[in-house]
C-alpha cells in the first residue's frame, strides 16, 4: 500500500463513516420498529437527533467533561485512521481502549450517582470484551504472520475466515455488547428502553451527547471493518463478500436485539468469557497444531 493510498482510505473513513453508520442506525430503528409491528421513524432520524442535540443549550457541572469527550472522539477517529489506513491492528485495539478510558473519565467527571452506576457497568463491559478484541488481532497474526492490516489483506490468498471461524464467532458475540444491544445493553442503549437513566451518558448534555454519538458511529465503523477483514483477501472481488458479511452481521444484531430479553452483568461476563475461551481458544489451539 502506497502512502497516498493510505491517506485516501483514511480520509474516506473520516468523511464517510459517520454518514454510513448513521444511516445504518436509521435503518436499524426502522427495521426494529417493523419487527415490533410499528411504523418507526424516518431513516434520517439519527441525523435529526444530532442536529437537535447540537442546538441545545449547553449545561454542565464540570467543564473538564467536554474536553474529555473531545479526546474520546479524537482517539476513536485516530484508531479508525490506523485501521483504514492499513496500519497495525494491535495498535487499533490499544488506541480503542485508550479512547474508552476517556469516556469513563468523562462520565465520572460530574460525580453523579447515575453516571457512576453506568461507569461501573461500562467497566464490566470492557472487561468482558477486551480479551476477545485482543485475541482477534492474535488470530490474524497466526493466520497471516503479520499484524499490519494492509498486509493481512494483500498477503492472504483466501479469506481468513477459513482459518479463523472460532475467532469470528467470538468477535460477533462481543459485537452485541459493543453495539449496546439487548441482552447486553447494560450501560446504555439507543432505544426507548434503558438501564438506570442513561448509563455513562447520563450527565452529558446537548453537544456532548452528540459527540459521544458520533464517536460511537466512528467506532462501529471500525468494528464492522474488522468483520469485513475476516472475508477480504487479495482478490478484489472479496470486498463484495466483506460488505455482504457486514450487512448480514448488522441484521443479525438487530434480530438479537429484538428477540432477547436482558441479562444481568454477571451472566454477561461469564457468557462473554465462556465464548471467548471456547470458540477463540479452540481455534487458537487448532491453528497452532496446523502451523506445527
Amino acid at each position: 500500500m502506497t502512502i497516498s493510498e493510505r491517506i485516501i482510505f483514511a480520509l474516506l473513513y473520516i468523511v464517510l463513516a459517520p454518514f454510513i453508520i448513521g444511516l445504518l442506525d436509521g435503518f436499524d430503528r426502522k427495521i426494529s420498529a417493523r419487527m415490533q409491528g410499528r411504523r418507526g421513524p424516518s431513516v434520517l432520524q439519527p441525523f435529526f437527533d444530532l442536529k437537535k442535540l447540537f442546538e441545545k443549550e449547553f449545561l454542565t457541572a464540570n467543564k473538564m467533561q467536554l474536553f474529555l469527550i473531545r479526546s474520546y472522539l479524537c482517539f476513536i477517529v485516530l484508531s479508525g485512521i490506523i485501521f483504514f489506513g492499513g496500519f497495525d491492528l494491535l495498535l487499533v485495539i490499544f488506541s480503542l481502549s485508550t479512547a474508552a478510558m476517556f469516556l469513563i473519565l468523562a462520565s465520572t467527571a460530574t460525580h453523579s450517582p447515575f453516571a457512576s452506576q453506568g461507569t461501573s457497568r461500562e467497566l464490566v463491559q470492557i472487561m468482558a470484551c477486551e480479551p476477545m478484541e485482543l485475541l482477534v488481532a492474535v488470530g490474524f497474526y497466526l493466520a497471516t504472520s503479520t499484524f499490519t492490516v494492509s498486509d493481512i489483506v494483500s498477503k492472504s490468498t483466501v479469506a481468513n475466515i477459513r482459518y479463523l471461524p472460532g475467532f469470528f464467532v467470538g468477535f460477533v458475540f462481543i459485537l452485541t455488547i459493543k453495539f449496546r444491544k439487548s441482552p447486553f445493553d447494560i450501560s446504555t442503549s439507543h432505544h426507548a428502553h434503558q438501564e438506570v437513566i442513561k448509563g455513562v451518558t447520563s450527565e452529558m448534555v446537548g453537544k456532548e451527547y452528540a459527540m459521544v454519538t458520533i464517536a460511537e458511529w466512528y467506532e462501529n465503523a471500525i468494528l464492522l471493518g474488522i468483520v469485513g477483514l475476516f472475508f477480504v483477501s487479495n482478490n478484489i472481488l472479496t470486498v463484495l463478500g466483506g460488505i455482504i458479511a457486514i450487512l448480514a452481521i448488522w441484521f443479525l444484531e438487530i434480530l438479537i436485539d429484538n428477540t432477547s430479553a436482558r441479562v444481568k452483568w454477571q451472566l454477561m461476563l461469564k457468557l462473554a468469557w465462556g465464548v471467548t475461551i471456547v470458540a477463540a481458544g479452540m481455534n487458537l489451539f487448532l491453528l497452532e497444531i496446523i502451523r506445527g
Partner: protein, 147 residues
C-alpha cells in the same frame, strides 16, 4: 403530520396521578399509537429531554422534584400537563396535600385535558409541543446570534 421530522425526546414524570393518565402516556409508545414515528423517544434523563410530560397534580412532596427536573432540562424545553389533574388539580384539587396543577410550580406551555387524557389527545399535545419547541429553538438561536 408525517412532515414533522424533529426529534423531541420526552421525560415523563408521574406527580400524584391515579396512574390512569400514565397508562395512557405509555400506551402512546405501543404499536397502536407508535409515537416513535415522529422521532419521539421516551427518555428517563432530564438532561437529554426536550419535552416534560407531567401527569397528576402537585403535592408538597413532589414539588421540589418537579422543579428540579425542570431546571435540569437544557433550553429550549416545553412543558405539557397531561390530564385534568396536571392541568388544575382535578378530582384531587380539594385534598389537604394538593397544591394544584403543574403550573403552580413551573411554567406550563400546553394543557392536555381529559380524565384520563386519551392517547390521541396526548399525541396531539406533543405535536403542538414540537411546534412550540421549534419556535423556542429559533428564538434561542436568534438570541445567541445577537450576543
Amino acid at each position: 403530520m408525517a412532515k414533522i421530522h424533529k426529534s423531541p425526546w420526552l421525560i415523563h414524570y408521574d406527580g400524584s396521578s391515579c396512574n390512569g393518565c400514565d397508562i395512557e402516556v405509555l400506551a402512546c409508545t405501543t404499536p397502536v399509537y407508535d409515537v416513535e414515528r415522529f422521532g419521539i423517544i421516551n427518555t428517563g434523563n432530564p438532561m437529554h429531554a426536550d419535552i416534560f410530560l407531567i401527569t397528576g397534580g402537585i403535592n408538597s412532596q413532589n414539588e421540589s422534584v418537579v422543579k428540579q427536573i425542570y431546571e435540569q432540562m437544557p433550553q429550549p424545553k416545553v412543558v405539557i400537563a397531561v390530564g385534568t389533574c396536571a392541568c388544575t388539580g382535578g378530582i384531587f384539587k380539594e385534598c389537604y396535600n394538593i397544591k394544584g396543577g403543574a403550573d403552580t410550580v413551573i411554567p406550563v406551555d400546553i394543557y392536555v385535558p381529559g380524565c384520563a387524557a386519551r392517547p390521541e389527545s396526548i399525541i396531539d399535545g406533543v405535536v403542538k409541543g414540537i411546534g412550540l419547541f421549534k419556535e423556542k429553538a429559533a428564538a434561542l438561536s436568534a438570541e445567541k446570534k445577537a450576543l
